[in-house]
Symmetry: C2
Subunit: 266 residues, 2 copies
Amino acid sequence: MNNNPIGIFDSGIGGLTVVKEIRRILPNENIVYLGDTARLPYGTKSVDAIIQFSLENAEFLISRGAKLIVIACYSSTSVALEIVQKNLAVPVIGVIQPGVEKAVELTKNRKIGVIGTSLTIYSGAYEKAFRKIGERCEVLGKACPLFVSLVEEGWLDHPATERIAQTYLGPFKEDNIDTILLGCTHFPLLMQVFQKIMGKINYVDAAREVGTMVAEELRKLDLERGEQGGDLAIYLTDLSMNFKEIGERFLGEPMRNFSRITLKGK
Amino acid sequence: MNNNPIGIFDSGIGGLTVVKEIRRILPNENIVYLGDTARLPYGTKSVDAIIQFSLENAEFLISRGAKLIVIACYSSTSVALEIVQKNLAVPVIGVIQPGVEKAVELTKNRKIGVIGTSLTIYSGAYEKAFRKIGERCEVLGKACPLFVSLVEEGWLDHPATERIAQTYLGPFKEDNIDTILLGCTHFPLLMQVFQKIMGKINYVDAAREVGTMVAEELRKLDLERGEQGGDLAIYLTDLSMNFKEIGERFLGEPMRNFSRITLKGK
């Protein structure tokens, strides 16, 4: 038993979808969330920079007493998960492995598409995750950086969004994939556009699977909260113009308790 | 006479278009450029954050001996120019005023459109600049954040780019404007798309006017370089995947001398 909070970080506020799922499955746990909004996006930056940012974020959550850390950012999980794990004494869970396990469970023809930021796709992290669980699948990765901006602009059903999705996803149809991994926190909001272009195939949003994995891990390590809780504290490194409106879209409930925090660089 | 370099900073590498113009007009001057690529973009972040970043950038250039500083970033000029000027002993030039003066010179019907990032448009900096020079114009501002991502993705002539430009610029046609200020370093690369939608009106890219203004200021203050020079040193806070390719597109020549630098936060 451990009454400390779960720590979750992301490059911005997209990771609040992961918070939403964890709160659904573990309503009694306290959560501390850190969104590095001053330095977002992570997906167009260098591996070195993201490793440094990720270690700083994790350190902040540890200073707030986190008993387990979830990296809700796919770009950060892609290049920094192992280094953060090595540097911390608490368990650290990323968003890639849970999604990969779900995709393997769903696919029939073992042809799987992965969409994400440039960093996530070029890192090869998904291919590595498939190899790790010993699954032989044809994995096709496609960097889709504009999807992030379109979601942030709120153009979820603009004709341009569909046109851009056609360019990005069109080739997948010829590859005959039957499952797509949504490898970025923002992408589930474009689900309707994806379905319009790709039709009825499997779409994996890892947020749900991460929630289940966190619950299992807490039980296994006897880290579950023993008293009443359910608090959520949100820290952001910058409070930009529409953060609350967009944040609540991801979180699915009002953002009540949030603060701006300046991280100490290394 | 002063042989020190001119210092220029931007949120990323788009400011290299300003470098290009200054090198064209003042080929003998040495230039130190700082691109804050680790924290870009600036245009979607808070006023406070951009002021802090701008002061840190200026301080770095001063530490490299800058005799005059150019803020090549429109978002940063919009909200931080006056504070940077107050904090420094050297002259500081932004990118907004030179463009506004040019627009006033060109417009016939005094109806002027301004496009930029959300931060630039919502700051009201352009309206303020028109008032400052005592010009009564109808100024119509439009935040166009997706243009930045489209240029970075290199989709200069994708059908989606035109579709997005139609949504952003369409209303300007009804407003009957005869001049558009391109209020972001990335936008001149989309000129062909703008012309397709808006036709033959005046387009003001301030980079050129900034070069002229810097030359005048150096002459006025007797800060011109007296010996042979023409060196360009480029510092970036992150070296991301395509920075060199995109950078050279802006600079118009090969990037020979560049380094990664980590700024000390306050």
